[in-house]
């Protein structure tokens, strides 16, 4: 009796709900649009309120700043120069972090020696050691790449290390009893098992590379998003400054999006 009563209502309910269901993609886009619209609205408000208006140039003048900066011939070369430093700093950081992290996880003595160094350097803001880097590397791209490399290396090493250390030892045993040798275990167990952590490390590394950009370009860069923001600050040219800040944000979000896309492809096996 009861099931007869409940069943029709359930069916009725689901039928009623159906027309309102939007595909998740559309839903996501709608929310994103709303989020951006509200953000621009708040920004506009801040540009009108007298006490914040000086820090928040209105969106129209920021849009106009695109033309100004392109006209001065610096916008593209700034973006290009920064992306160049970010890309190479990040690549060197990753190439160094991967083996360091894996070796640290495998050989306890190495972890005991290097671990504290990494924790120590990680707590120092990059801005503090930029002058030291410039002393030997000189001003220019080389110093910037070194600074970004150090910062990304540290954060990625810590993350990948955690991943390798957390690999379930039973998986290694299972591989071994199925005839895997050390090399097989590295390729067929350690690397895939650590992949989610490696990708997380890449994401953190990309963010760190961008947040370190200002410090990296703080001394003597000839172009760059971080360098330009600092030089504009001397003339209180707020509209192009805001433009550059937004560009850095857009680059960050875009990078993250790409890495997430890649992540979903590579780690679809993972429990979420």
């Amino acid at each position: 009796m009861q099931s007869e009563l409940t069943l029709p209502t359930k069916a009725h309910k689901s039928k009623k709900n159906k027309p309102f269901k939007l595909p998740p993609r559309v839903k996501k886009m709608a929310w994103l649009t709303l989020s951006v619209t509200v953000a621009v609205g708040v920004w506009w408000l801040l540009s009108v309120i007298p006490s914040t208006a000086q820090s928040f140039p209105n969106p129209v003048s920021v849009a106009q700043a695109i033309g100004t900066m392109v006209g001065r011939g610096v916008l593209l070369s700034d973006i290009g120069s920064s992306l160049f430093s970010v890309a190479w700093g990040f690549i060197f950081g990753f190439v160094l972090a991967l083996p360091t992290a894996i070796l640290m996880a495998w050989y306890k003595p190495l972890e005991n020696i290097i671990g504290p160094w990494i924790q120590f350097i990680r707590s120092i803001p990059p801005l503090a050691y930029v002058p030291l880097v410039v002393v030997s590397a000189g001003i220019g791209a080389k110093a910037q790449i070194i600074v970004i490399c150090i910062a990304t290396f540290l954060v990625m090493t810590v993350t990948i290390y955690q991943g390798v250390v957390n690999i379930d030892p039973t998986l290694i045993k299972a591989a071994r009893v199925l005839g895997a040798r050390d090399r097989d275990i590295f390729i067929h167990v350690i690397v895939p098992a650590a992949t989610p952590y490696i990708i997380t490390a890449v994401r953190l590394g990309a963010t760190t590379a961008l947040t370190t950009l200002i410090a990296a370009e703080s001394t003597g860069a000839e172009a760059g998003l971080g360098m330009r923001i600092q030089s504009l600050s001397q003339t209180f040219d707020v509209a192009p400054m805001m433009l550059y800040i937004i560009i850095i944000g857009i680059i960050g979000i875009t990078l993250d999006k790409f890495i997430r896309l890649f992540e979903r492809k590579v780690t679809k096996w993972q429990d979420k």
Binding site: L171, A174, V177, L178, G179, V189, D271
Partner: protein, 257 residues
């Protein structure tokens, strides 16, 4: 009806060095297992039964003594000794089929016969439909079936099982016990099966090895002369209950005193 000796455990001892001094986990274990024999091992926790299995598998080394498998002394791991772990230990990034194929892949065996064997064992554990699924999509019982198929597909001479059904609910456990019995009757494989469940030890084993702890020793070897095919109903027979009473007393009462 003693067959040929497949696996011989000879004077195996294992001691650990710790801060509090030396601990003896296993003291002079001796046991011979015949070809195609199903031996179950039961004992209180801390009796070293898992350590013994790891030593046979080659995952740990004994302090003294040796393991002989097919007349050869065992050194390290080898694909002639397959292991099924309690925690399934499936590779989560591989599909069911890739997991089952892992042993053959390590051997670089790409033969048609090898591929056929993979499919046969996936079918045997009833997971043909799930060959392309990842472990996360499977229930605990299904995961352990994959692990069993993986061990069988590597075609080991001896199958070592470390409380494989310990993490499963009672119903699934009963089902997998019957499946394992059927498989064993069909495939005839030498099995060394660790459990902490007295019923399971009797139902599956032709002999039960009862171990004692501190240090780990073999206390008694109990023959199980129950007819095949065995199933869950076997548990209700007089003979089963008589063995159960005896084993129970040996495993639990002795430790309580």
């Amino acid at each position: 009806m003693a067959g040929q000796i497949k696996l011989a455990i000879q004077h195996i001892s294992k001691t650990y060095q710790s801060e509090r001094g030396e601990t003896t986990a296993l003291a002079d274990i001796n046991l011979s297992i015949d070809e195609n024999e199903f031996v179950t091992v039961i004992g209180p926790s801390g009796c070293g039964k898992s350590t013994l299995l790891n030593i046979i598998a080659g995952l740990e080394t004994a302090s003294s003594g040796q393991i002989i498998c097919d007349d050869q002394p065992v050194k390290g791991t080898g694909s002639e000794r397959g292991v099924v772990f309690q925690q399934y230990a499936l590779f989560p990034w591989l599909t069911v089929r890739q997991n089952v194929a892992f042993g053959l892949k390590m051997r670089k065996d790409k033969s048609v016969a090898g591929q056929a064997r993979i499919d046969r064992y996936i079918k045997m554990v009833g997971l043909s439909e799930f060959a392309g699924s990842y472990p996360k999509e499977l229930s605990g019982g299904m995961r352990q079936r994959v692990a069993i198929a993986r061990a069988y597909a590597a075609d080991p001479a001896v199958l070592l099982m470390d409380e494989p059904f310990g993490a499963l609910d009672a119903q699934t456990r009963g089902q997998l016990q019957e499946e394992l019995l059927q498989t064993w009757e069909k495939e005839q494989k030498t099995c060394f099966f660790i459990t902490h469940d007295v019923d399971e030890a009797i139902l599956l084993g032709q002999r039960i090895v009862i171990m004692d702890s501190h240090p780990g020793t073999v206390k008694e070897v109990v023959p199980v002369n129950l007819p095949y095919p065995r199933n869950q109903e076997t548990r209700l027979s007089e003979d089963f209950l008589a063995i159960k009473k005896h084993v129970w007393a040996q495993v639990y009462h002795a430790t309580a005193v």
